[in-house]
């Protein structure tokens, strides 16, 4: 009697039959019926119609029956939420059962039922179970919190389960600790900014203790959690490494790899001179080798990770070349990975062995593998210079075999060898030409044509060879067509007399008969070049090409460093950072290797803050490169056009655009309350944070004369820009705005030909001069540039208001990023409003355009504040003292003529300021009409268009302290307005 009988019910009336059996009086029959239902479920049959009947079987003492019913419930509760509620009572009762197994089972099953109504009932039992005396119940409850969080995150937070979960990290039972860590990690993944796993030396110590005692799976959770910790100095890093090292001997390969991740990351902090560093390197090799004797699927993942490790620290496995030799019955995916690592490990010392192996592989049966093996020989030639000659002769041997696909691959790689070692191995060209007819793959044909064109002067019958390709020009793939075009033009430039006809033929084929724009464009360019300036044509077409190097195959160092932090994850399998495949940039915390230093200072600096910590808020606001890409595709990278004609209208437009949806034309003279509630908040946010910056008076006093300058932040990480890193900030000095940039070349090649361009933005910011980088930027070099800006560019409202999208070009590519500029760089020097005007304007500001927020922890008196603000072109119009509080009245004007008025209340005993900024609007006679104010819910913003004749105040240049921004806490209370 086996379970297969459960599948053999009659087709007709199956459900009906089961229904009858489920309602049977006999216990045994009931159980058999439930088993039949479960069996149907396992093969994907829909048995949800039996829901009420199955649930009726739930109240039983028979544990097996109970479990079976629970299994059913988990599967179908979602589709029958109303019915599922019937089960709640039994669950709640079971949570009180004296048997811990049943308590745990109940809480576990309840968590799996994703029905809102049920989760409400879950809270109380869960709270009890989290504090249960039995660790088995506690550990089950810990996971249940993660389940509940997935269904209703708010509920979990409101009920305080997160705190209870954090407490469980200190539980006496290691299994409970492991599950709590797992649950917290899972929750933290969906809330990257929440500081759930607050790692400090004490909690790390607890985790390390639990690590030794919990199950293998728990060890993985704990190790992955440890990897996110940033030790404060090298001694702490070493002591953690010492305690993690024993995990390398674990039988579970996932534990081993997680331990490797922790060690690889923390090793970065250890000094290379340390004895321990050497010991650790030695200890890492054997476990990695052992992973390769596991099942093929495990091997594959291990090999992908070893590929990273080998690139980061080649010294670990440099003596282990042989374990990567391919066995003929390895699965193909293992073979290819091994091949790749063999090339990475190839060096002068072992190249003979490697070549012998590769030649052996080239005679295998699997065509794909043979091709890769042949390519690998070429890569070896490029990587190990001393072996190039041997590689070439090996390739020639392979060409002699006349096996079609081997010959074609060999020709493709020989072309690369030519590009690495020009004028060295051209003697083999004759042999290559013999095989011309057997080439049928586009890549091989293209390679051959390139060789013929490149060395046309040495091949007597080059014109005949190329002509033979030309016959079937239209049947060739684009790759071959392009190559043929270039090769014939090269030939013509080298031997102009004999090939005039040929070149005309190919140019007409390319430009007149082809539908391919790439081909046509290239054809036209050549044509024009040849007809206007043959000398220039020669310089362009026959220009010296950069040598290729092995490094083109390596992962960019910055990406590699990030990937090292993701060892053992999917990211490491795909060699892409999670940000590349997690939708949007929100929710991804960039991980970085710790700096190699023992000082605790640098570990605490914001740039190297633990990756678990909140990322800078910029990345979450700024659209990713990809977003911009589509929009900016038509970018012209020439020097910016700064024509005065458009300026005036642009400014006008700016004022209008700034108001977004609530724009009311230039018609009436009355204020219109803002109908939109979404747009205004965006106006408020940058303004508020900008004010926060300015008000932060606790920091050191700036030495520059001019307004507040924020510290430079990274705008474009090197990873996203093929090695170009851009960081910068904005400043305003004596009436001019500038963008201070630092360009750093983190790639392996020299960068040159820089240019910059802004997208349209809210205030028409545009570069006032082209980007001047005088010398090419060598690898690992940085250059500081101050780019002057003006505000006469074209205007478009951005979201958020102070968002600026920038495109930077260099010789490699065009990169896009966006950043937020501080609003105060737009505060003009003549922003002091005349007293009477201020008073009149203030009164006219409608209430809904007003907002209020607090600036905390600021311990300056009114005069100091006033002088500091003046430094940033925020002028004090009046000051008064009410009930012991200083009130300051301020005005400022933006570059596009919009005025903002503010009231500042300073309570002497309380270091918090209440700001009451009321961007002003007055209606002076003769103005073109009132532009209505946008009323953000909290910030009162009244906007005045530019053409106002207001009195000017004196510009001040007092230094302003700088520090990070403290954002004011908005309050709803309104304060009295008016000026004495």
């Amino acid at each position: 009697m086996t379970d297969s009988k459960y599948f053999t019910t009659t087709k007709k009336g199956e459900i009906f039959e089961l229904k009858a059996e489920l309602n049977s009086d006999k216990k045994e029959k009931k159980k058999e019926a439930v088993k039949k239902v479960i069996a149907s479920m396992t093969v994907g049959k829909d048995v949800s119609a039996l829901f009420p009947d199955v649930v009726n079987c739930m109240q039983t003492d028979n544990l097996e029956l109970k479990k079976l019913v629970y299994l059913y419930l988990m599967n179908y509760a979602k589709s029958q939420p109303d019915m599922a509620i019937m089960a709640v009572n039994t669950f709640v009762k079971d949570c009180e059962d004296p048997n811990p197994l049943i308590r745990a089972l109940a809480v576990r099953t309840m968590g799996c039922i994703r029905v809102d109504k049920i989760t409400e009932y879950l809270c109380e039992p869960l709270r009890k179970c989290l504090k249960d005396e039995d660790p088995y119940v506690r550990k089950t409850a810990a996971v249940c919190v993660a389940k509940l969080h997935d269904i209703n995150a708010q509920l979990v937070e409101d009920q305080g389960f997160l705190d209870t979960l954090k407490d469980l990290i200190s539980d006496s039972n290691p299994m409970v600790v492991a599950n709590a860590v797992a649950a917290l990690s899972e929750i933290a993944e969906s809330h990257p900014s929440s500081n759930l796993l607050d790692l400090n030396p004490q909690s790390i110590n607890k985790l390390l203790t639990a690590l030794n005692e919990c199950t293998e799976w728990g060890q993985i959770f704990i190790l992955d959690c440890l990897a996110n910790y940033m030790p404060k100095d090298d001694r702490e890093a070493q002591s953690i490494c010492e305690r993690v090292t024993p995990r390398l001997s674990h039988a579970n390969s996932a534990v081993v790899l997680s331990a490797v991740k922790v060690l690889m990351k923390f090793m970065e902090m250890l000094s290379k001179d340390l004895d321990y560093y050497g010991t650790l390197l030695k200890k890492l090799a054997p476990p990695l080798v052992t992973l390769l004797s596991a099942e093929p699927e495990l091997q594959y993942v291990a090999l992908r990770n070893i590929n990273l490790i080998v690139q980061k620290r080649p010294e670990i496995l440099k003596h282990e070349m042989k374990v990567f030799f391919v066995k003929y019955n390895d699965p193909i995916y293992v073979k290819l990975e091994k091949l790749d690592i063999m090339i990475r490990l190839a060096s002068q010392a072992n190249i003979a062995q490697v070549l012998a192996e590769l030649k052996e592989y080239a005679t295998e049966v699997d065509v794909d593998f043979v091709r890769k093996a042949v390519r690998a020989i070429g890569r070896c030639a490029i990587k190990v210079e001393q072996s190039a000659e041997r590689c070439v002769s090996t390739l020639l041997d392979l060409i002699q075999t006349k096996v079609n696909y081997v010959v074609q691959e060999a020709i493709v790689v020989i072309k690369d060898i030519f590009r690495k070692y020009p004028n060295k191995y051209e003697s083999v060209i004759a042999t290559l030409c013999e095989n011309l007819d057997s080439l049928d793959e586009p890549e091989a044909r293209a390679a051959m044509i390139w060789i013929v064109g490149e060395y046309a002067e040495r091949i007597d019958n080059a014109d005949e060879l190329l002509e033979s390709f030309l016959e079937g020009f239209h049947d060739e793939s684009t790759q071959v067509q392009l190559q043929l075009l270039t090769a014939i033009v090269k030939l013509f430039l080298k031997k102009p007399t004999e090939t005039q006809e040929l070149v005309q033929q190919v140019l007409s084929l390319a430009t007149q008969d082809s539908d391919n724009p790439d081909l046509r464009d290239r054809g036209y360019i050549y044509w024009r070049l040849l007809s206007t300036d043959p000398v220039a044509a020669k310089e362009v077409v026959l220009a010296e090409k950069p040598l290729i190097s092995e490094e083109t195959d390596l992962i960019e160092p910055t990406l590699l460093d990030e990937l090292i932090c993701y060892i053992g994850t999917l990211a490491s399998v795909y060699h892409k950072p999670p940000s590349a495949f997690v939708e949007g940039s929100r929710g991804v915390v960039h991980k970085s290797l710790p700096p190699r230093t023992g000082s605790s200072e640098s570990a605490e600096s914001p740039d190297t803050a633990p990756s678990g910590g909140p990322a800078a808020d910029q990345p979450s606001v700024i659209p990713t490169q990809g977003d911009l890409l589509g929009d900016l595709l038509n970018l012209d990278l020439g020097p910016p056009v700064s024509g005065p004609p458009m300026a005036t209208s642009a400014v006008q437009m700016g004022a209008v655009d700034l108001l977004g949806d609530s724009l009311m034309g230039g018609s009436g003279g009355s204020f219109t309350p803002a109908p939109s509630t979404t747009a205004p908040t965006n106006v408020g946010a940058p303004l508020g944070s900008g004010l926060g910056d300015l008000f932060d008076l606790t920091g050191g006093v700036g030495t520059l004369s001019g307004s507040y300058v924020a510290p430079k932040t990274v705008w474009l990480p090197a990873m996203k820009a093929k090695g170009l890193e851009i960081s910068g900030t904005f400043s305003r000095q004596v009436g001019s705005i500038s963008m201070d940039l630092v360009l750093t070349n983190k790639a392996l090649q020299v960068m040159s030909d820089f240019a910059i361009q802004f997208n349209r933005n809210s205030f028409g910011l545009a570069p006032a001069a082209p980007l001047q980088v005088h010398a090419p930027l060598a690898p690992n070099q940085s250059v500081e540039i101050t780019l002057p800006l003006n505000t006469v560019g074209s205007v478009m409202k951005m979201e958020p208001l102070n968002n600026l999208q920038v495109a930077v070009k260099n010789n490699i590519d065009v990169f896009y990023f966006s950043t937020l500029y501080p609003l105060h760089i737009l505060f003009v020097e003549d922003g002091k409003m005349e007293r009477q005007m201020f008073l009149a304007t203030w009164k006219d500001i409608p209430n809904e355009n007003e907002t209020q927020f607090q600036i905390k922890d600021c311990s300056l008196n009114a005069d100091a504040v006033s002088s500091k603000l003046q430094g940033s072109n925020i002028f004090t119009i009046a000051k008064r003292n009410v009930e012991g509080q200083d009130m300051l009245y301020q005005s400022l004007k933006l570059t596009n003529g919009i005025w903002v008025l503010a009231e500042l209340r300073i309570q002497p005993s309380n270091p918090s300021f209440t700001v009451h900024p009321t961007p002003a609007c007055s209606h002076p006679p003769g103005a073109g009409g009132h532009v209505p104010a946008v009323g953000p819910p909290q910030l009162l913003v009244v906007l005045v268009p530019a053409p106002l004749s207001l009195s000017r105040g004196e510009g001040g240049t007092a230094p302003v302290g700088t520090a990070e921004a403290h954002r004011g806490v908005p309050t709803v209370k309104r304060c009295p307005r008016g000026i004495p």
């Binding site: 379970d3 297969s4 195959d553 060699h575 929009d631 038509n634």
Partner: protein
Amino acid sequence: MAERAARPGPGTAEVFVRAPGAGLAAAALRARGAGPTGAGPVGGRGLCGEPARGFAPPQPGLAAAMIHSLFLINASGDIFLEKHWKSVVSRSVCDYFFEAQERASEAENVPPVIPTPHHYLLSVYRHKIFFVAVIQSEVPPLFVIEFLHRVVDTFQDYFGVCSEVIIKDNVVVVYEVLEEMLDNGFPLATESNILKELIKPPTILRTVVNTITGSTNVGDQLPTGQLSVVPWRRTGVKYTNNEAYFDVIEEIDAIIDKSGSTITAEIQGVIDACVKLTGMPDLTLSFMNPRLLDDVSFHPCVRFKRWESERILSFIPPDGNFRLLSYHVSAQNLVAIPVYVKHNISFRDSSSLGRFEITVGPKQTMGKTVEGVMVTSQMPKSVLNMTLTPSQGTHVFDPVTKLLSWDVGKINPQKLPSLKGSVSLQAGTSKPDENPTINLQFKIQQLAISGLKVNRLDMYGEKYKPFKGIKYMTKAGKFQVRT
């Protein structure tokens, strides 16, 4: 797609006006690097084996269970079991797997990680069954793959064999076991000892008893070991005969080249134990030459500190069968090669007949007999048939798969076994390009080829005198001879 949704605003597209001549400038740039690949990579990225398909975006908001669902798929592509630990994932997700399965020439070559638009599929292939796990968020793939292997091991442990038929026959037990192994995608109980206390394995006797008495095969008590300091051992174990057996089993992986010299050789060793001892015994196992073991993986029961300091294995053993440790010896001079193969294979160019001759002989066997010898070799496609005579054993050549296998049996050093004869090639085809590789299997009893020897086994903590036994064995792992 989401990136598009996050665009700053609808008006942005028209922002940068394409200046006249811009397209031309770009084209000129392209023309200058006129090499076939421009400044592109040598050899191409393809070597990294990256999948052609785009990336599946694990959705951060939905990030949840580590293992979402499990599908069991047989060789003909039928899903015969599905288990979901969270919400139900439609089985249509397996279509991506089937696609990959179709692309792969053999079942073994199906890639273990397959991205789909919303999930990742991680699979292992064992016993002609694909175990496909569906995951949705960033999880360590090794974690999932290890777990899947553990599932297979558990099935094997429960039912003796792991096959489609046996899984279907025990589908309810399978379902119950899977439910115990994972909770919300987190491994819950994977130790077979604990699982067997929770869900009793089916036996004929139990089935009969259950039917009569109405009792169940689900344990209703919390397994005792699960939360103790020694989670791998239950309390109150009792035996009348107390015994502890250890098997030292070594497998040699080697590649031997044409001329008979060793290209690579390494030993994968394990010590499997069968311990049936009453109470809470504390065992120590010491070796004559522990320095051989520099790359070891232990069962969690082994006290690592003691090993580090004294090179002694000290542990409280689990009850029953378990793997105490596995080790790896790769230092070339330590790996003795116990057999050699003399071969003379030639596919003559002109005639359609080739010559084939192989002889197998013992090399470094420390005086022990090599037995269970089996020679297999994949012949080139152009081989039509082989006419061979063995000096001992039986041989088969399958003209369809072109696989030659020769069951040699024992090697008698006085009279070396050989297989001789002719090869007929397809008429008109040229000489095959590839040389067949010879795959060798063999066994040597009472020998650990690395020379590892157990010194003594002691027991503390219990009064009785157990019966102890150690067995050694050497086997061929992936032992290949190139011709």
